[in-house]
Subunit: 345 residues, 2 copies
């Protein structure tokens, strides 16, 4: 109650009748402290409810034990799980995480990175908009540890933790083919993005590898939004030329397909089977539950966090961070999750 003032290491030292150095030593678990002294100091610390000032400490050791997480939008169903993975792993090493949503706006990305740099975060986990290599270049020249998440900016030396979108899409389509479907349509993601492009490539490759006919009118361009899926499905309905199966580039679009089908009284999976990608939590809650390729979202976050902290440790040890110190990209596997939307009995 009494004072509002923060109590400092000096206060503790005085109360114990020792020097601040000694207190600092017990605070940091250094050897070379008499057991009696140590326990006395510990006792006073405990009684005073003292917490060392992290900023003062950071200032001298030149390390803040915080990392920045920069993503498009924490509200996007993909990211909360990733964020949780980042956080859990960070906590393991006593790091805190500062997060920021950018809405893929270049300007915002710039701002928040600047802010974090001023706060002297030890490193950054970023999911940046494409063609933003300038920012990364600046980071490189400052030797800031960075790992990219989910997306990879071509041209950057920083490692990425992500999935193999092409391979994953390939496997999705391969599954559909193995189930016996031949006329398989694809609703693409935003083709301005690498995942959008790669997933389409995977679709094409799977069709060709399996000697099916690659019909361009079976590929409809979307943009990862639910509306795009809805529109694409209606387009197919109008054309009166329904496929046997649809692979939507993500779950959100698949939900749009679902809605359009419901309105047109097309039954899924009886009349048409449907598959998404990502396994966002919703996909198991809709009816029929969506078959999809599950991204290991939590693990992506965890691994990115782990890699970043490793990088930070290397930098601390060597006193700098060179290109050779950076790790290779880490590609995690997606997993097929079979649910009712492809289940014909």
């Amino acid at each position: 109650m009494a004072a509002g003032e923060n109590i400092t290491i000096k206060d503790i030292a005085e109360k114990c009748g020792v020097s601040v150095t000694t207190v600092s030593r017990v605070l940091n678990d250094k050897p070379d402290v008499n057991d009696e002294t140590r326990s006395k100091v510990l006792k006073v610390i405990e009684e005073s409810n003292y917490r060392p000032n992290g900023m003062a400490r950071s200032l001298v050791i030149n390390q803040t034990y915080s990392i920045g997480l920069i993503i498009p939008d924490i509200n996007n169903p993909y990211f909360p799980e990733v964020a949780r993975g980042v956080e859990d792993q960070a906590q393991n090493s006593s790091y805190s995480v500062i997060f920021s949503s950018t809405d893929n706006k270049l300007e915002r990305e710039q701002e928040v990175i600047d802010l974090m740099l001023q706060k002297r975060v030890d490193g950054l986990i970023v999911s940046l908009s494409l063609a933003n290599k300038d920012i990364l270049k600046r980071l490189e020249s400052k030797k800031i540890p960075v790992v990219q998440l989910d997306r990879r900016i071509p041209d950057s030396i920083y490692p990425a933790v992500m999935i193999d979108n092409q391979r994953s899409a390939y496997n999705a389509v391969k599954f559909l083919i193995d189930e016996g479907y031949k006329r398989i349509a694809h609703i693409t993601g935003n083709l301005q993005t690498v995942p959008g492009q790669d997933r389409e490539d995977g679709y094409r490759k799977a069709i060709l590898d399996n000697d099916l006919r690659l019909a361009e009118d079976m590929i409809i361009e979307g943009d990862f939004s639910k509306q795009a899926g809805y529109d694409a499905m209606n387009q197919m309905i109008e054309r009166g030329n329904l496929p046997e199966a649809i692979f939507a580039a993500n779950d959100m679009m698949a939900l749009g397909v679902l809605e359009a089908c419901r309105q047109a009284e097309i039954r899924i999976p009886e009349d048409l089977v449907l598959m998404g990608h990502d396994n966002i939590s919703i996909s198991n809650l809709v009816y029929p539950a969506l078959t999809t390729m599950a991204q290991p979202k939590y693990k992506l976050g965890r691994e990115a966090s782990k890699m970043l902290i490793d990088l930070i440790n290397i930098k601390q040890k060597k006193g700098s961070l060179e290109k050779e110190d950076l790790f290779a990209d880490q590609i995690l596997e997606t997993k097929l999750v079979k649910r009712s939307s492809t289940a014909r009995f």
Copy 2:
């Protein structure tokens, strides 16, 4: 490329041939600097790509411009939107936010608060597990600005930003009554929590106020989980005594009800109308779309953030924070969102 070393205010001062004081002045937009000097310094800063060290600054001004956000789980569909609100508002005032998930574990709450206190966050937005008043008491004695979010720990002096759960539930049930339903069941939330209790109270009050029969077997205890909703619905089905309408204490449980009904071939809304609470994003994506009471999640986050920053400013100005400085609770309105699950044509 050259050095990895961070450039400091001293470097800038030397390059300009002025003192660090002067550089500091232009950095902080102080008056009393010759225009020529100012622009020269600005130029050098720009050229050197210099960013002042926030920690050093914080150490002397005793303010970090970061706030902590402590929630049960960023993965819970309720929180990402709240978090985004907190962040957007914080950003407006150039604050960063450090977040942590606690899974409602007392021990974790303790840990992360300690960590944030060491980092000297300027204030905290918390959504703590019940009966955790000890933590808040400690915070009070340290004069840390805190605002509670979504939940309010009884006994704490800290203000909360939340909704009126009882009133909201009341309005939900009132809507059902106005639609002409008389036999209305309620699946409760976790009754160990205040929102769980309050929503049940609201249900009871609405039934009684409108001269309907309050049947205890129409109230089934749940815990906010989808499974609980599923189980509750099946229990009603087994009893063979279906209500005309169900008010589930949250959307997740309503989803469970939906699934049970599908399996039992009970049609919604034709055979039974259903209503949830919260308006999590999923509720508009399932079929039939869920009627619900929408929590202003984004706004809750924003308002909490705003209130906290106001508190911080008061503390800075006065040099301390007293009980009288704290604001009153802020209660935001929920809003009825009508969708197909209650729409009979």
